[in-house]
């Protein structure tokens, strides 16, 4: 049966440059003398160190634990001694430093205890999720979202489709391709585990048509699984983007601002799937991954199984390149990857490719011309935005309008910039606008908070005043009442006195009358 496929709007066909790095099998990267492990290699909270400088650690030993629900632990990729814990440069577009643990490797690469599970089906989904969490597995496709959360849809959610993403649509990158070619059983085994953890109804493995060999091998590996379907999708960038792939395979659109869970779909990268298999069946945490080392900065582009924390310049050297001769170094692909500020930054869990440019063979910089409103960007946009309108709004700082035009639905895939005949760096404008909106929102929140605080203070003062006033009034009233009472008593006393006086007076009068009467009579 051939699965019906849907289409998303636009997309582009940049030159693929995939053949260069698929000539050699996946080789082991060298064991570097020092490994640098950032505590924040995933989406969520940074991990919390569990070791101290001077501690000896074994390969696979946990050295930093997950901090909160959305977080992931970090493990020692090789045996050695903790040399330092502190801020070091990390691979990030900002070029900033962040907390890292540095291990001086001892060269023995000695494993700690590993406990593999013989039959994962004996474990409950929640036990599986815990093991996956403890293994520090995050999405290896690039986003780095902790995988166990993805496998935890909640009690009431039915997962209809589990998608295994082997699309790998970015040019140059071939780590997933080579993984599927060489370790298809691991990928499929991981998929079975994930399927069990999710209790998903069906699984689809999506592979782009430019990976014929991987497709055939994966189809063979899954031929005995009735509930796993290996599907070939036409090559089109950015099909590997989760929401676009879900549309292609199911015809459904993940709601804007929503998660695929909402429409009963979960997707995992093929690399993540293999990592899940190794974690569950062999007790190996995520301490290495396959890296594509490509670009004209290296003479032997290829894929290397690399320990997390390995410096990139070591990989460049291993692939016959000279780090000192590079003009540009990109982590990720040419469409969505980001340029790094130095060559000795560590490989992290989300690094899929190290793309280097020799300084004499840099990508061409074309002059930027005015927008001619040709609409090529709109035709290419996989989210069906109006990129040129967004560009005008971002340029003129009309950020409300940019938001009205759904700026935050932009996935920054770069298709618009790629097709722009005026060579306008459109994505850069959107990033600027997004950043500016965040800053303003934070400021607004801050001032809102300040305003609320101020108003509350005012209210409190007013209330206190009011309470005070009321009390005083009451007191006054009470005092007055007291006064009144005294007056009343006084009056009553006076009245009584008066009455007494009157009585006395009348008695006297009467006595006098009597006396005068008596004396007159007498």
């Amino acid at each position: 049966m051939i699965r019906r496929l849907w289409k998303f709007n636009g997309g582009v066909h940049p030159p693929q440059h995939k053949k260069e790095s698929t000539g050699l099998n996946i080789g082991p990267a060298i064991l570097p003398r020092q490994l640098t492990l950032p505590l924040h290699q995933h989406i969520g909270e940074p991990a919390e160190p569990l070791v101290q400088v001077g501690d000896h650690v074994l390969k696979g030993q946990i050295i930093a634990r997950a901090n909160g629900y959305v977080s992931a632990p970090v493990h020692a990729p090789s045996s050695g001694t903790i040399a330092a814990i502190g801020e070091y440069p990390i691979p990030h577009p900002s070029g900033f430093s962040a907390d890292c643990i540095i291990i001086d490797t001892d060269g023995e690469d000695r494993w700690g205890e590993r406990l593999g599970i013989a039959d994962y089906q004996e474990l409950s989904p929640s036990a599986l999720r815990n093991l996956i969490r403890e293994a520090g597995i995050v999405g290896l496709g690039g986003a780095g979202f902790p995988s166990y959360i993805k496998l935890n849809p909640g009690h009431d959610k039915v997962i209809k489709t589990l998608i295994l993403n082997g699309v790998e649509c970015e040019p140059y990158i071939t780590c997933d391709d080579m993984l599927m070619r060489e370790r298809s059983e691991q990928v499929i085994a991981g998929l079975r585990i994930a399927r069990h953890a999710l209790q998903a109804e069906q699984c689809i493995v999506a592979i782009e048509s430019n990976k014929q060999e991987a497709f055939a091998i994966m189809r063979d590996a899954a031929q005995n699984d009735d509930d796993i379907e290996v599907v070939r999708v036409p090559t089109l960038y950015p099909q590997g983007s989760e929401k676009q792939l879900i549309k292609v395979l199911t015809g459904q659109e993940v709601p804007s601002n929503g998660l695929s869970l909402q429409i009963g779909v979960v997707s995992l990268n093929v690399g993540t799937s293999a990592a899940i298999y190794r974690a569950i069946c062999h007790g190996e945490p995520l301490i290495s991954r396959i890296i594509t080392v490509a670009g004209n900065g290296v003479n032997t582009p290829r894929n290397l199984e690399t320990l997390i924390g390995t410096p990139m310049d070591e990989l460049i050297r291993q692939c016959d390149g000279d780090p000192a001769q590079l003009g540009k170094l990109i982590m990720g692909g040419p469409m969505m990857g980001f340029a790094l500020h130095q060559t000795d930054l560590p490989i992290i869990k989300t690094t899929n490719c190290v793309l280097s440019h020799h300084r004499d063979q840099m990508p061409q910089q074309k002059p930027v011309l005015p927008c001619i409103r040709c609409g090529a960007c709109m035709d290419a946009c996989p989210v069906e935005l109006l990129p040129q309108q967004l560009y005008w709004f971002a340029r003129s700082d009309e950020l409300d309008k940019a938001q009205e035009h759904d700026l935050f639905d932009c996935i920054e895939c770069g298709c618009c910039s790629y097709v722009c005949p005026s060579n306008i760096p459109l994505v850069q404008f959107y990033r600027y606008a997004k950043g500016e909106i965040w800053i303003r929102e934070r400021e607004r929140e801050k001032s809102e908070l300040a305003r609320q605080r101020f108003e509350f203070r005012e209210m409190r003062i007013a209330r206190r005043k009011a309470e005070h006033g009321a009390k005083r009034k009451q007191k006054q009233i009470a005092a007055k009442k007291r006064d009144d009472k005294e007056d009343e008593i006084k009056a009553a006393v006076e009245r009584a006195q008066q009455r007494r006086d009157q009585a006395r007076d009348s008695a006297i009068e009467q006595a006098e009358k009597q006396r005068t009467k008596d004396s007159r009579d007498g």
Binding site: P93, V254, E384
Partner: protein, 357 residues
């Protein structure tokens, strides 16, 4: 060594403004060839004058505005504007008409608004309309079909005429000028004739025309010769759609709405209304639909917006042709719809992925 840290995407595609304009120019070649075949060398001379004037003017203004010369001179937009203006004016218009039109188009309609990409109105059409209202005599004296006329001018004669207004001794001015088919039809309908009568009188076959030494004006479906010119532009336009230089929406909407309203009135009163095919293949409808209305700078942006924009132009073309003061009206219709573009763009946004339908 500092590493370059520009942001993604790090690679650029093959598109360029020059590439787009070059393809537009290539797509015009069949139409231009047909035009020259039927109306002689005047167009080529006009185009050379127009392009030279446009480039010179563009260079001067860029210098004044302190903009880099090369990227803007080589983008091809001034050349396309010049070619469209040359196509719009009569083939033997005096040289200064062309030059004034270009000056107005490039300086007033383009650079005073900010240059490439910023002009709200189609520069070639602004230039054309300015000429049409300022120099009605020069702008309405079309010439008879060269291939059907005994008095066709060769390249040298055309050149002399355009620059000096001197005709060869054997040719008189009256023999050289003639109204366009749309103009003729309009005039005759205004005199109370029916379409069939006009066409019977003036739609002569080759033999009769030679016998009476009259030039036929009407062909099988549109204006004689014009049907071929429009056909050739149609060919080029379809190639542009195939090459994805232009979208299908504007041409289809514009020609569709023009045909629809023409058909409606044709069915109501066949005697006094020309057929849809006549409307499509007589004036500048095809040229306008594929090459003028599709100018991206001045057209609507979204697919639905482009449909509305195209429909508006088609309807306006018919309305002005039928009830307005001018025989053809592509320029007016395009300029009027240019004004509406911001409104259209505001109201016809496409649905964004993941948002409710």
């Amino acid at each position: 060594m500092e590493l370059q840290t520009t942001t993604s995407p790090h690679n650029t595609g093959p598109n360029s403004i020059t590439g787009i304009m070059l393809r537009v120019i290539i797509a015009m070649i069949p139409g231009i060839a047909a035009y020259v075949w039927f109306f002689g060398w005047g167009l080529i001379i006009n185009m050379i004058i127009a392009i030279s004037a446009a480039l010179l003017c563009e260079a001067l203004i860029l210098k004044w505005r302190q903009r880099p010369l090369m990227p803007f001179l080589s983008d091809g937009s001034a050349v396309v504007t010049a070619m469209l203006l040359a196509l719009a004016i009569p083939p033997l218009a005096p040289w200064w008409v062309t030059v004034i039109g270009i000056l107005f188009a490039i300086i007033i309609a383009k650079h005073l608004y900010g240059g490439l990409g910023y002009n709200p109105f189609n520069p070639a059409m602004v230039g054309y309309v300015m000429l049409l209202v300022s120099f009605p005599r020069e702008m309405t004296s079309w010439i008879p079909l060269a291939s059907w006329s005994d008095i066709s001018l060769n390249f040298q004669d055309s050149l002399i005429y355009i620059f000096t207004q001197q005709l060869p001794v054997s040719v008189t001015f009256d023999a050289l000028t003639e109204a366009t088919p749309l103009d003729t039809l309009k005039t005759h309908l205004g005199q109370g004739n029916t379409v069939t009568e006009v066409r019977a009188q003036l739609g002569l076959d080759e033999q009769t025309s030679r016998l009476l030494s009259l030039t036929p004006i009407f062909g099988d479906i549109g204006g004689k010769g014009w049907e071929w010119i429009n056909g050739a532009f149609l060919l080029g336009g379809l190639w542009l759609i195939y090459k994805r230089i232009i979208g299908w929406q504007i041409p289809v909407a514009m020609l569709g709405s023009l045909s629809a309203i023409a058909l409606l009135f044709f069915l109501i009163d066949t005697d006094h209304n020309a057929s849809p095919l006549f409307h499509l293949f007589s004036g500048a409808a095809i040229l306008g639909a594929f090459f003028i209305a599709t100018d991206p700078v001045t057209a609507a942006a979204s697919p639905r917006g482009r449909l509305i924009y195209g429909i508006g132009i088609g309807l306006l073309v018919y309305i002005i042709r039928n009830w307005g003061g001018y025989p053809d009206s592509i320029a007016f219709a395009v300029l009027l719809m240019n004004m509406v573009v911001p409104l259209i763009d505001h109201y016809f946004k496409p649905r964004v992925f993941g948002h409710r339908k």
